[in-house]
Symmetry: C2
Subunit: 498 residues, 2 copies
């Protein structure tokens, strides 16, 4: 029998062989309709879809019941089973996530399924499935090529188009190549509606999310600016009504753009903007090091100008699901959907960022060349973001691999991670235990607050004055650096004292 394992709890779930869930769905919908709720299907129960489901099921006026839909596959079924078993399938330091989930249990207005019959019952369908870019790197992690397949995404839309109501509102939240709603989603809907012989009364809108896993997970949906568009005026209006009912639009006004091309482009442009600004600073990090300049200090000084406040700081690398692929997704769209050139600067940004973690590894190697005793390295922080245990495309992966390729012994700590799925490897989450041991070098890789102005960590560092400290991500506070610098060979990426 096929099973699907939760990477959070380790629980195994048996994937049912009978994929008919009509009875339970009918009961759920009937109950919620009776209580006056509209039915919203959320397709895809990942980092976005699962929390978006919670937000919709907790709309201020209790207007909606949510059916979460995902695939009965090894990789995804556990999310469905977890939700129906009373466990939300994301790790989060945001208490609101747990509060919101509890409330859906009390109201019984959140149910998960694999049965696309769900779309037949829904008034609104939100698409939150992944659309991945496949990147190929050489051994030095140099990006060689990339490609994108719309096949899974199209399958997802197809299953909606075959089932949805004539007048359903379909909101695409997935980050898609610009042009997708008009040139991919709409034709699929139109074809299916023609085959089904029903009127094309559907409404199709695009409104991208800006979800940030972490302590403000829920607020990154409810208390944040939203951009939206529709393939026609009625679609845009329907999307606006829906968004108004879940987002605090009085404080965070909505912005309507003229076309789905525009909102699709906005999403990939805003992420490319960040990716490119990170890559740009990497070039200056290396310059600053050769000139003995503390670039953290420089970028702080520049950032005081309101016109320059978004300047990035030097760092260990770029991680997460979006910044590592969205510039490529945009470039792909320009070539394949609009028959244009590629986006050279945006592609270069990803290339540079993919290489970035090697820089910190090179620093450590340079120290080791001068001191052959340097063997044991502790990396503090595995997650790609602070205050969250998110290892998706974390730059620490390449840093760790590269150090081990260079024959260093690497230990790992992260307060939010016990098991690193992608690396199939244990991580210590107990800092006191970790710093009971002596290391030759410590790399601070993630700005978790546990590392900042931590008396015990400071003492341990100053008691080991020969230990090299590489602050690769401006993790340590200025106050802490001052203290440590007196006792220790503190070497900080971008701080120019290398």
């Amino acid at each position: 029998m096929n099973t699907s394992t939760s990477p959070i709890t380790g629980c195994k779930f048996n994937i049912p062989s009978d994929l008919n869930d009509k009875e339970k769905l009918n009961t759920f919908v009937e109950k919620n309709r009776t209580e006056g709720r509209k039915i919203v299907a959320v397709q895809g129960l990942g980092f976005v879809g699962s929390v978006m489901s919670l937000v919709v099921a907790n709309s201020p006026k209790d207007k909606f019941a949510v059916i979460g839909v995902d695939l009965p596959s090894q990789g995804s079924y556990w999310k469905i089973a977890s939700i129906n078993d009373g466990e939300i399938p994301v790790q989060s330091s945001d208490n609101k996530v747990h509060d919101f989930f509890e409330k859906t249990k009390q109201r019984n207005n959140f149910y998960a399924t694999y049965d696309s019959y769900a779309y037949q019952l829904s008034d609104i369908i939100i698409v939150d499935i992944n659309l991945d870019v496949e990147k190929k790197h050489d051994q030095r992690n140099v990006l060689q090529s990339y490609d994108l397949s719309l096949a899974n995404f199209k399958n997802g839309i197809e299953s909606i188009a075959e089932n949805c109501k004539e007048d359903a509102l379909i909101v695409i939240e997935t980050t898609v190549p610009p042009g997708t709603c008009e040139k991919v989603v709409k034709p699929i809907l139109d074809n299916n509606f023609e085959e089904r012989g029903i009127l094309k009364k559907y409404k199709l809108a695009h409104s991208y999310e800006r979800v940030m896993p972490g302590p403000d997970y829920i607020d990154s949906i409810i208390n944040f600016y939203r951009v939206y568009s529709g393939i026609d005026n009625k679609s845009a209006k329907a999307a606006e009504d829906f968004l108004r009912s879940i987002i605090k639009t009085d404080e965070y006004p909505l912005t309507r753009l003229q076309s789905t091309n525009a909102t699709e482009m906005a999403k990939v442009l805003e992420n490319s903007y960040r990716a490119m600004n990170i890559a740009f600073i990497q070039e200056w990090t290396e310059f600053a090091e050769s000139a003995g300049v503390n670039l953290f200090e420089v970028t702080d000084a520049i950032g005081m100008r309101p016109t320059h406040s978004n300047i990035m700081r030097p760092g260990v690398g770029v991680g997460g699901y979006c910044l590592t692929k969205d510039p490529l997704l945009a470039s792909w769209a320009r070539k394949k959907i609009f028959d244009g050139e590629n986006l050279p600067q945006s592609e270069t940004a990803v290339q540079i960022n993919d290489q970035m973690p090697l820089h910190t590894a090179k620093l450590i190697s340079n120290f080791a060349n001068k001191n052959s005793e340097l063997k044991n390295i502790l990396i503090l922080g595995v997650s790609y973001r602070s205050e969250v245990g998110d290892t998706r495309y974390t730059p620490v992966e390449l840093l760790c691999k590269e150090l081990e390729n260079r024959n260093f012994s690497v230990s790992l700590h992260d307060p939010f991670i016990n098991y690193w799925e992608e690396m199939e490897r244990a991580v210590s989450s107990n800092l006191e235990e970790v710093i009971d041991i002596k290391y030759d070098a410590v790399i601070l890789a993630t700005s978790h607050s546990e590392y900042q102005d931590n008396e015990k960590l400071n003492n341990w560092i100053t008691e080991n004055p020969d230990m090299i400290i590489v602050d690769a991500n401006k993790v340590l506070t200025d106050k802490q650096v001052k203290k440590i610098r007196v006792f220790n060979k503190l070497k900080i990426v971008g701080r120019g004292d290398l």
Copy 2:
């Protein structure tokens, strides 16, 4: 006899053959010392030095008298003569410039000279001379190579080093390649002091300006953040004292960096940051046009996020003295002073920006291909910045040349310019006169307020519905665009309706 002509007034001044100005300098200094003022020499009376002189001579506690020093050359002598004749050698819409200059006349605490004897008399010397990058382009304005000569800059420093007091404070404000204070200025001072047999008690500091010609010319010095550093602690402290006496540091706190390398790098990094972000958006402008997306609308929506507020808008090109060269200056320094690589992204930014005006010319050509009647073009705005008549490296120059190469007839208007020096060409500053004539196309190139929500301009546009309007720089307001769009074939760069 050699003469030097003011490009502002057209006045010709005879360059004196006797370059001894000791008598007048002694009298000026004696008078001001008696009145309790310290003597500050400002080397270089260009866009920065002349206004910096005014700021220093108008310090809140009336602490300083200023000697402006420049060269007795055809290109520069007119600035010296103008100041002593009672005309400030910059054009400005900032009334404070004129008020400040009047006050120096009343107090008689601002004098200009070509005699480096001035440095013998000065307590503080501020270096505001140019340091240019020589760029070579091919016929398509593609940047082929660039170089930088420190010769003039070194001569300037030499003339200070040969004359200055033993304990003078020397503040470099010129944008220099990182490493210059330590590796160029300091050795020149040290050598000369050794030759002169005097103690090296000089103080050497670097504090770059962020001067913006325009309506806030004076305030861009007095009411703005400043970064500074010294080659040693005593130099940094002396610079700080001086800056505190001219800048409103209670509202705009000073930032001290650890080395002159750091402040030198900060200046070129902050300008490279902007240049690179402009180049980045150019890539997306072309993408947006092919996707029919209004990129102005998209960047406005993205800019609502505080982390994305610095995102640039599409435009006609990049002009002015700084953004067009500083990324190259930085790259040069990394190669030549620190034996490193170049800065590829920063160089690419300049390359792209140098080409940018061709894009607007190409748009006009595309229209002309469809309509061979399109011949006469009016460009509104010649200056590279709004609300100021500054044509230094304005992108309108390449736009204008390219259009004329393509055999269009080009007329020019700018409310702040009567004569375009670099192009040796008259410009109309009277909008009503200009719009009395019919054109086939109008390009809005500079965001002067005169063009915005201007009833007469709007009427003229709507009365000529066949005229093509290219808003290449988001000059028109959204309200204005709405009005015009009803009547006219409005085509706007980055607005996606091309």
